[in-house]
């Protein structure tokens, strides 16, 4: 090893605290990228492997009663690789010691062999014996939510008759990663179950011997999903088929997709910001750190070292710091990535996990950091190397300080002398002061953008649960009912008000773009389920025409006044042209909205409803639950309060978990920046400060001169930091917007306060370390030697 390399390692050891602080900044950026992209990739690959191994279908359809032979004809559709036909029916559950109404989706299992598609991963126990009506397998999350194990019993209303079933096993399925009950906004494992039963048994209960009511199709690679769907629809139509749909409209897949999308959007937005900010900060810091080496550079030149060797030496120095940072960030990022993958894997009930290797991330992050560091070093060296060695070896000539104000104004009579020194120092190095401020502002900004997601989640909850969907309960019916059912519901115990809701599944199309949505019709002046616009005011629907989510309008490329094509997927199945009369800024899903009378006219039907929204007397809810459970027509009951809790447990948990991790890493970066700032200022001014000590200034006074500048720059950096944070939050918000959920850009004051507090705390901690340094300042040595 050459002597210069020995110097390199010793310098790194001597400056370990600063090296570590810079490495932390690099590491923060690297860790964010490795964690976010790595965990997203792992989850994505896990999902792909899960779908692959357990044969998740591509196209799904339901029918009333289709003969088994039809399955073979479906298999003959060009592009179809495999078909799985089965019986699937909704049912209300009655679970012992659980008063809230729960519902389930009953799915048949073939009596011999495995299903062709959507195979089960059995977690415990066994599959039901053929023909045994009482034996069932339930989805594991439901069993876990109730503490059920094999042998546990509960009741279900199947085909209008209450039956008791016994759990013989628990299972997971790629089809039911997320389970959202009818009418519910959120998945709820306690109140919604997937129940698998022997085909023979279920066929017996529903009188579907030799028939099926649901079908899944696996496509051949390259097959047209649209083509298969339209042929499938044509085949099922005579048997009460409902419009077939692809994975995109399969509830579980759509949810999982959305959650992974959010992770992906976060990982596409925050880590690059972090990495760029870290690179910039590393650049700033190393410029100053290398500039401090001026006299050593001069000495090496005097000893006959070529400029290129000296530049290489300092490149190695900063490269070593970057390598330490990349290793640090890589280790922490990978560890966090594993933890996050495992956490979300558990959350999604994946039966296994695939950890994706990501060497490209290290290369990307490392290369970016190294380039930033090298440019920083070069910037500092360019100045120093240009100097003749005789000049470089001397301390820099006294900088030209100027009077800030005309001589007639005695500034020192207005401010204290330390303050004057600070002001002149800032004025003397305006670029450096500006960059320092920018660095700290960026630290604040990345904290703001990490923290703001919490605000938006809270806002979303407020908006959805307290402004828009204000009902306590939504009762969904298995089949649509004549409107007088609303009166019937109104008479149930505890019901205060009830409003009808008519929902029609449709395909909406404009040009080549098509989406499957639900048009909901609501009575004029509906007060429970309201439509809220961007200004948070309730929207009154026009008597005719269709209003759609602004997001849907954006997807379709239509505005109010344009006309869209709508395939009605219920009843007479007509295709109609409809004018868009309004777009509504809403935050969940994409949907169509109409006046209920207009919708009925469109459907050419008598007054029917699918569900009833109601408000409830909290004191009488037990009576209400009991009454609802005995209504055979009810397909599902959604409880708003429970839904809110589940929202917090699902979406919000996911977003805030990531946000917390990002906040932690942002705090590490912030600390690294602030500490380095303070530490380098001390080195740059060591001689000046030691001279002051010799002149009789106390340690406290010297400390004040140094820290005053740090304090001022830290505070000045905050407002631009907030502004940049808001800007980054806007980018994040825009990237987070998806078909299942959008967020409003809300940054609470408290978020700014927290971000600033973290930076100020970092400054205080740095000040404590600096204080220790000043206490140990060797006056004679500092003044005599030129280190």
């Amino acid at each position: 090893m050459s002597t210069l390399d020995i110097k390199l390692f010793r310098d790194v050891r001597r400056l370990w605290a600063q090296v570590l602080a810079v490495a932390l900044v690099v590491g923060g950026g690297v860790a964010t990228l490795v964690l976010a992209v790595g965990s997203h990739r792992s989850l994505e690959e896990t999902r792909i492997a899960y779908y692959e191994r357990y044969g998740f279908g591509d196209v799904f359809a339901e029918a009333k009663r289709a003969p088994e032979a039809l399955a073979d004809r479906i298999g003959e559709i060009p592009g179809v690789a495999a078909v799985d036909a089965r019986i699937a029916k909704p049912a209300l559950l009655d679970i012992p010691a659980f008063s809230e109404p729960a519902s389930a989706w009953f799915v048949s299992l073939p009596d011999s062999g495995e299903p062709h598609l959507n195979r089960l991963y059995v977690r415990s126990g066994r599959l039901p014996e053929p023909g045994r009506t009482e034996e069932v397998v339930v989805n594991e999350p439901f069993a876990r939510a109730h503490g059920f194990s094999e042998g546990a019993r509960f009741s279900a209303i199947l085909n209008g008759k209450k039956r008791e079933v016994v759990i013989v096993g628990t299972a997971l399925s790629p089809e039911f990663v997320y389970t959202v009950g009818p009418g519910d906004l959120m998945p709820d494992d306690r109140r919604y179950a997937i129940v698998w039963m022997s085909e023979k048994a279920l066929a017996g209960v529903y009188d579907l011997d030799g028939a099926f009511s649901a079908v899944s199709v696996k496509l051949q690679p390259g097959a047209s999903e649209r083509e298969v769907i339209s042929r499938l629809d044509a085949l099922l139509d005579p048997y009460g088929g409902q419009a077939a749909h692809g994975r995109k409209d399969q509830t579980s897949h759509a949810w999982l997709d959305h959650e992974l999308d959010m992770l992906n959007n976060m990982s596409r937005t925050l880590p690059p910001i972090f990495l760029l900010v870290a690179a910039f900060l590393v650049n700033l810091t190393l410029t100053r750190l290398v500039a401090l080496e001026r006299e050593q550079v001069g000495l090496l030149k005097a000893l006959g070292y070529a400029d290129s060797s000296i530049v290489l030496h300092y490149f190695k120095f900063v490269a070593l710091i970057v390598v330490i940072g990349v290793i640090l960030g890589g280790v922490v990022g990978t560890w966090l990535g594993y933890r996050v993958t495992a956490l979300f894997g558990d959350f999604f009930h994946f039966p296994f996990l695939v950890f994706a290797k990501a060497p490209d991330l290290y290369v990307t992050a490392g290369a970016l950091s190294a380039a930033a560091a090298a440019i920083g070093a070069l910037r500092a060296l360019r100045e120093v190397v240009k100097l003749p060695p005789a000049v470089a070896m001397q301390p820099p000539a006294p900088p030209v300080y100027r009077r800030l104000l005309p001589a007639s104004v005695q500034l020192d009579q207005i401010v204290s002398r330390p303050a004057l020194m600070m002001i002149r120092n800032i004025a003397r190095h305006p670029v450096r002061a500006a960059f320092t401020t920018l660095g700290m502002a960026l630290a604040t900004a990345i904290l703001v953008v990490s923290l703001f997601t919490r605000d938006t989640m809270e806002q979303l909850i407020d908006l959805t649960y307290f402004l828009a969907d204000r009902q306590d309960v939504t009762i969904g019916f298995a089949e649509k009912r004549i409107e007088n059912v609303v009166e019937q519901v109104n008479r149930l115990p505890g019901v205060l008000t009830a409003e009808s809701l008519r929902e029609v599944p449709v395909r909406i199309r404009h040009g080549n773009v098509e989406r499957r949505i639900t048009i909901s019709g609501r009575p004029a002046g509906a007060d429970l389920r309201r439509i809220i616009d961007a200004d948070l005011r309730p929207v009154a629907l026009p008597e005719t025409g269709l209003a759609i989510s602004a997001m849907l309008g954006h997807i379709l490329g239509v505005r109010a006044g344009n006309t869209v094509e709508v395939d009605l997927l219920e009843g007479a199945r007509r295709t109609v042209s409809m004018p868009i009369v309004a777009t509504v800024e809403d935050y969940f899903g994409i949907r169509g909205m109409m006046d209920i009378e207009a919708l009925r006219k469109l459907m050419r039907e008598a007054p029917v409803v699918n569900s009833v929204n109601l408000s409830l007397d909290e004191n009488r809810k037990e009576d209400f639950y009991a009454a609802v459970k005995s209504m055979p027509t009810v397909g599902g009951v959604a409880l708003q309060r429970v839904s809110l809790a589940n929202f917090r447990k699902t979406v919000a948990l996911l977003v805030t978990t990531m946000a917390s991790i990002y906040t932690g890493l942002a705090a590490v970066i912030a600390f690294g920046v602030v500490y380095n700032n303070a530490r380098i200022s001390l080195s740059e001014r060591a001689r000046e400060l030691a001279s002051l000590r010799v002149l009789g200034f106390t340690r406290g006074e010297v400390l004040r001169i140094l820290l005053l500048e740090l304090a001022i720059l830290t505070l000045v950096a905050q407002p631009p930091g907030w502004l940049m944070g808001y800007g980054l939050a806007w980018v994040m918000k825009t990237n987070l917007a998806g078909e299942l959920m959008r967020v409003r850009l809300v940054v609470e004051h408290s978020t700014y306060v927290v971000a600033t507090s973290v930076v100020v705390l970092a400054a205080i901690a740095s000040a404590a370390v600096i204080r220790h340094r000043i206490d140990n300042l060797d006056l004679v040595a500092v003044l005599k030697t030129r280190d």
Binding site: S2, T3, L4, I6, K7, R10, D11, R13, R14, E295, Q296, L299, L300, K301, A302, L303, G304, Y305, A306, D307, S309, P388, P389, A390, V391, M393, A397, P398, P399, V400, K784, T785, R786, D787
Partner: protein
């Protein structure tokens, strides 16, 4: 000319330091012979260090010419100046300028690694009487010892000239004398031309020639018929 190491003609240097213009060197003419020991005496700011820096290739004159043997230093590129320093010049500074993170041995090795025909670092250190302490860091050495490490570092590459800027300036008399002893020993054994800047008038006794500087010019020259040994010095 063969026994002349340096020839200066009308050497002038003007500095701009902050907002002040300083005439550090004003039309200096000078010749220094092989193996000669020259002492430069004079008050602060009289131009001694500027001359030394230009002779050492650490700085360039504003005008005039300076030759090292037949080589015109005034026109050299940075790269050539670096090569000149590396091949021919040894420096000793007032504040030693050792690399604090390297041991005495490693500080010397820093130079021998890039030199053409160097001594072994241990031999160079032995020459200045520091072979016992070569694995100590600068912070573990006294000022005199540090300066002797600097001398060992300067001579390890067997330079043609040894340029010393106030080598005893930061030392007490006893250690100062040991440092001068080391410099003279090197001059005797290796025949290195040695130029010493000092404020200390007693050191002039050891020189072949003394140049008195004032206001950027050579104000007087004295030739010593006999050089005194360092041990005979008192200050």
């Amino acid at each position: 000319m063969s026994d002349t190491v340096f020839t200066a003609k009308g050497l002038t240097k003007t500095y701009v330091s902050g907002e002040v213009k300083v005439h550090a060197l004003n039309e200096v003419d000078l010749e220094i012979a092989e193996k000669e020991v020259v002492v430069l005496l004079g008050p602060s700011g009289s131009g001694k260090t500027t001359l030394l820096n230009i002779m050492g290739g650490l700085d360039r004159p504003t005008s005039g010419r300076l030759f090292f043997r037949d080589l015109d230093l005034t026109d050299l590129e940075d790269r050539e100046l670096t090569k000149y320093r590396r091949d021919h010049v040894g420096f000793v500074f007032q504040f030693y300028n050792l690399v604090p993170s390297l041991t005495a041995y490693e500080n010397v090795a820093l130079v021998t690694e890039v030199a053409k025909n160097p001594m072994r670092p241990a031999d160079a250190l032995a020459l200045v009487g520091l072979d016992e302490r070569m694995h100590h860091f600068p912070a573990q050495l006294s000022g005199g010892e540090q300066q002797r490490v600097a001398i060992a570092r300067a001579i390890a590459k067997r330079p043609a000239v040894l340029l010393c800027d106030e080598p005893t300036g930061a030392l007490d008399s006893k250690t100062g004398i040991r440092v001068i002893e080391a410099l003279l020993g090197v001059n005797r054994q290796l025949g290195t031309t040695t130029v010493i800047i000092t404020h200390n008038a007693s050191i002039q006794e050891v020189a072949d020639r003394v140049l008195f500087f004032a206001d950027g010019r050579i104000a007087g020259v004295r030739k010593n018929e006999t050089r005194r040994e360092a041990a005979e010095l008192v200050w």
